[in-house]
């Protein structure tokens, strides 16, 4: 019986191909939009999550700056008020697990005939702990290297690839701003940061070497910022106030003076970014769902027309013994069929569009089975929901009136 009804639903659709297609089109566009939007939203979420995972956990960044010069407040980082010594002092705080002073700068790096413009980061071995970064090959530099300002370098993946291709860079010599450095290790890949930077496009060198031999500075020992990792998420508030107190003390700030540094809770910022991505993902899905709703209303509209057009047919069917539920099932199946076919094509279109967006516009996309199943489920539900009213209307027709209908 249900087989016969499916065949009839198929037949009825075939009788009005253009109309069925246009109705499906609404569904197709709706489903494709949902799939595509979910793919993009989840892609964005995935990127953020990955960046957060690569950032390191329970992280603070302490920026120098906010000093006042002649009544004019300078922006954060304007004056180098933080030093490597500040970093060492912070490391002794009980709530702090690891610390790294960071003195970065752009530089041209040369290896043989190859050269590459990258970011050279002067720091301490603590940097790898703070960033949860491991060494892929070779070794990290040590505190001894920092003390004696050795010319050693750790290469990020991108730099290693661009300078050495498939060769192993460990033991090779590179030139940073024309002074020679020995590559002692290659960092494991990290991927993109929250603001979309390639974190593997960097070279790590001892902070002292950076200060004295590469960038030079009118403020000896100064660093751009300090990264600090709290012992746990729970210790973060304590760590923040301890650091602030310590730095004020070390910088001899009077009680009424503003901080000449700025402590930012990176983990909180990252979580906010993750939340934003999640909300965006949901919003995209919700907006796309509206088009599913519109598709559903299209189905309802066409089914109502169809019921009216086929009033006489319904009358005939009732006269020869169709029960109300037979008529109901027939029209419901038709609506679901339109909805499902539209949905299947929509899923294909949506996946294709997402893949195209990824390939052509390098938008990050994540297509999950759950999203496809969700789209299917919603489409089937839309078919039933919007198909029910017209089908019920058909089933409730009075046979004599339906038979008299011209």
């Amino acid at each position: 019986m249900i087989g016969q009804m499916l065949a009839e639903a198929w037949h009825a659709m075939g009788a009005n191909r253009l109309r069925a297609f246009l109705t499906m089109l609404g569904m197709m566009i709706g489903v494709a939009a949902v799939i595509m939007m979910l793919a993009i939203g989840q892609g964005a979420q995935f990127m953020v999550d990955q960046s957060i995972a690569s950032m390191g956990s329970n992280l603070f960044i302490v920026l120098s700056g906010s000093s006042t010069a002649g009544g004019v407040r300078l922006g954060t980082g304007a004056a180098p008020t933080l030093t490597s010594a500040d970093a060492e002092a912070i490391a002794d705080l009980p709530s702090i697990a690891a610390v790294a002073p960071v003195a970065p700068g752009g530089a041209q790096v040369v290896a043989g005939a190859a050269n590459w413009a990258t970011m050279v980061t002067g720091t301490t071995p603590g940097y790898l702990d703070v960033r949860d970064w491991s060494i892929q090959s070779g070794f990290a530099f040590t505190d001894a290297d920092v003390r004696s300002q050795t010319r050693v370098a750790l290469l990020g993946q991108t730099v290693a690839k661009n300078l050495f291709g498939d060769e192993d860079p460990v033991g090779k010599t590179i030139r940073i701003k024309s002074s020679p450095f020995t590559v002692i290790g290659v960092l494991a890949p990290k991927g993109q940061s929250l603001n979309g930077q390639d974190q593997d496009d960097t070279v790590l060198i001892p902070v002292t070497t950076a200060q004295r031999k590469v960038f030079g500075s009118q403020f000896p020992g100064s660093v751009r910022f300090i990264m600090a990792q709290a012992t746990s998420a729970a210790a973060m508030p304590a760590a923040e106030s301890e650091m602030a107190e310590l730095l004020r003390q070390r910088h001899h700030l009077p009680d009424r003076a503003d901080n000449d540094f700025d402590i930012r809770n990176l983990t909180a910022l990252a979580n906010a970014a993750a939340e934003t991505a999640r909300v965006m993902s949901i919003m995209l899905g919700a907006i796309a769902s509206v088009s599913l709703l519109v598709g559903g209303i299209g189905i309802m509209n066409i089914m109502l027309v169809s019921v009216t057009e086929r009033t006489r047919e319904i009358g005939i069917r009732i006269a020869i013994g169709a029960r109300q539920r037979d008529i109901l099932t027939q029209f419901l199946l038709e609506a679901i069929m339109i909805s499902l076919i539209g949905c299947i094509v929509g899923v294909v279109l949506g996946v294709a569009a997402a893949v195209a967006a990824n390939l052509l516009a390098s938008v990050a996309v994540v297509i999950t089975g759950a999203a496809v199943i969700l789209a299917f489920g919603v489409a089937a539900a839309v078919g039933v929901f919007f198909g029910f009213y017209p089908a019920n209307k058909a089933a409730r027709l009075k046979p004599i009136e339906a038979l008299r209908y011209q």
């Binding site: 019986m1 087989g3 016969q4 037949h11 009825a12 009788a15 006489r312 047919e313 009358g315 005939i316 069917r317 009732i318 006269a319 020869i320 013994g321 169709a322 029960r323 109300q324 037979d326 009075k398 046979p399 004599i400 038979l403």
Partner: protein, 239 residues
């Protein structure tokens, strides 16, 4: 139930609800139809013949009065039970044929069996059998729009017969057909009646009425004649 008549109607009234209030159409109709009868219903236009047929066919319910079909009190049945009666006990033939234009002749004939829950194979076997019986075997795959009116009415009769009904209700089955075709259709009904099927048909045409064995005449919603198919009775109904 062998002694129970196929149709027993007692004090049947039917009113239509309209904006201007209830319109009485049938008043105190009493009728008994035994199995294998061949009944013609005549009467002036608007006298309530079609209304009566709809009630007999379980397409509409009386306003008051009793109607027993095949021993069952129709007034006590629910919608599904009425559908079952229409599917198994009754076969309809309409003036306008009422075939589904998009289904083939075979599928049209087989349609009632879909609602009887019979499988595809068995359905088409039975449909082909009946098409042969009404002489339309070569047209099995045709669309109804591509065969003549007389042929369409044969298809409709085959459809009415497909569920092995006990009674065929035909409301002006020859109303849209020419004389020659009408007689062919009436010969078919006569043959079915000879096979034991009860036939009740409405007609305005005296020579069609002569095929029947009993004549019922309606005037203003009441039965004014019930008896032999005599010339005066037919003449009276011709008005």
């Amino acid at each position: 139930m062998a002694d129970e008549p196929l149709i027993r109607i007692e004090h049947l009234y039917k009113e239509y609800e309209t904006d201007a209030g209830p319109v009485p159409v049938l008043a105190d109709v009493n009728l008994i139809v035994q199995r294998s009868e061949f009944l013609a219903i005549m009467g002036p236009s608007g006298s309530g013949k079609s209304t009566f047929m709809n009630v007999v066919g379980c397409l509409d319910l009386p306003t008051s009065g009793k109607y027993f079909l095949d021993g069952r009190d129709v007034g006590t049945l629910d919608a599904d039970q009425l559908a079952h009666l229409r599917n198994t006990v009754i076969g309809f033939v309409f003036q306008g044929f009422n075939l589904l234009p998009r289904a083939s002749v075979t599928d049209n004939v087989a349609l009632p069996l879909v609602y009887a829950g019979i499988g595809r194979e068995a359905r088409s076997r039975r449909a082909v059998e009946l098409l042969a019986k009404v002489g339309l075997a070569p047209f099995a795959d045709y669309a109804p729009g591509r065969i003549s009116g007389g042929q369409q009415q044969r298809v409709a009769i085959a459809r009415a017969m497909v569920g092995n009904p006990q009674i065929i209700l035909a409301d002006e089955p020859t109303g849209n057909l020419d004389m020659k075709t009408s007689y062919e259709i009436m010969d078919l009904f006569t043959q079915l009646n000879a096979d034991g099927i009860t036939i009740v048909l409405v007609t305005h045409e005296p020579d069609i009425a002569t095929y029947a064995k009993r004549l019922v005449r309606f005037v203003d919603g009441r039965i004014t004649h019930d008896g032999a198919v005599s010339a005066p009775a037919i003449a009276g109904a011709g008005a």
